[in-house]
Amino acid sequence: MMALFDKFNKLASERAELFPTGLSPFETRIEEVYSPTEARIGGRRVLLAGTNNYLGLTFAPECIEAAQKAVEREGTGTTGSRMANGSYGGHCALEAELGDFYQSNSVIVFSTGYLASLGLIGTLAGAQDIILLDADCHASIYDACRLSGAQIIRFRHNDVADLEKRLQRLKKHADNTLIVVEGIYSMLGDRAPLAEIVAVKRRYGGYLVVDEAHSLGVLGEHGRGLSEEAGVATEVDFILGTFSKSLGAVGGFLASNHPESEFLRYASRPYIFTASPSPSVIASTRAALQLLRSRPQLRERLWANATQLYRQLQALGYRLGPEPSPVVATLLGSRQQAVAFWQGLLERGIYVNLVLPPAAPGGYTLVRCSVSAAHTPAQIDIICQAFADLRAILEQPDALVDSHGS
């Protein structure tokens, strides 16, 4: 019989092997934050290239002022859930503003994007239903599927033919199916082939959920995300989003034109049994949404930076994700190599995200850069220079073994 904590033995030994000094990249302390792109880590000033601060709005004066006013006017927290303890004006105003932004008649704000996913998918799909999810979907979607009790079927990442085959196999059950994809996938930065997915859905039936966590404010003429960019917004049944990335706060939402989705407020445990977002968080999110809408130049800046980083790393010979995007993933070899690479970047004053399997798809190890509209072209050059200095790590032998981490 295994003792309660024995399940952590494997984790403990992996951690000791990968991080012998005891300092793990997964326990990084940001000691001080100076701006959307600079902070102090390990006593040194570093350039931040591993946030999800796509529009660089975390220090926008408009957002800070809105949050300050809200905290003074309405206090630090709501101390309860919306159903039991009431909605504040800000919650309702934000829902109305998001409804206007997406031209959706139902928007529900949740306390995080993770909870929005649990709240929609975990509640709407039941034991008689089926969920078809892209293999590379985020953990929040996997968890939501589990919570639902539905039959969970995974299709190959971005493979529309595989999705189609599976819908075909479901026959009449296709009508009871939720298809779940993401606008931009968080690890490799690639988009879903949404127009083709919508075409398949049209042919076989089902409902489509698009998690726009990484594409809100990033894609589409108005920044609504991939559903806008692909021109299929009216055929997406449910849009999930988060305030924690381009809007620089915390929280999440569901937008839909199915009037029945309002019932999720009564049925969704992740909506009912957790406290609603604080007034200051809602206020800064509303201000950030206004900036997202009124300043398309933020999106242009972001894409100029993203393209610059992607092209330069490509020219250095790095293996990257399949297409330029604000998420730029550099694929590496063994776990040890990836850790050494991540540390090398930090020593050169660049903070990025280290991602190891199973968090990275396909058994890859990678370092993930995320670009911000707040980066200057000169800062992007500094990041690229550090990558150029680290080419040598890739040329060391042993490097490309162990891609399954065994």
Binding site: A135, G363, H404, S406
Partner: protein, 82 residues
């Protein structure tokens, strides 16, 4: 039983390339604790197997699939249900 053996043999062709060096494989090998796959490897294996047999295996069934034998029996059941 002939069908079972054929399915098992086809599973082995998918499994062998994933084998860490020096691991043995038979119908009772535990795919995770003995064969060394992690949960994502198992889900990726499933994608290949599903394509080969032209079926979808719901992830809900994974909790009860520990060995090649379990997987083969699941496949037979799903093929029969068609």
């Amino acid at each position: 039983m002939a069908e079972y053996q054929q399915i098992l043999d086809r599973l082995y062709t998918h499994l062998r390339p994933m084998a860490p060096q020096g691991t043995t494989l038979d119908e009772d090998t535990d795919l995770i604790s003995e064969f060394g796959l992690d949960s994502v490897n198992v889900m990726d294996l499933l994608l290949e197997v599903e394509e080969d047999f032209d079926i979808s295996v719901p992830l809900n069934l994974l909790a009860d699939i520990r060995t090649p034998k379990d997987l083969a029996c699941t496949i037979i059941r799903l093929l029969e249900a068609e």
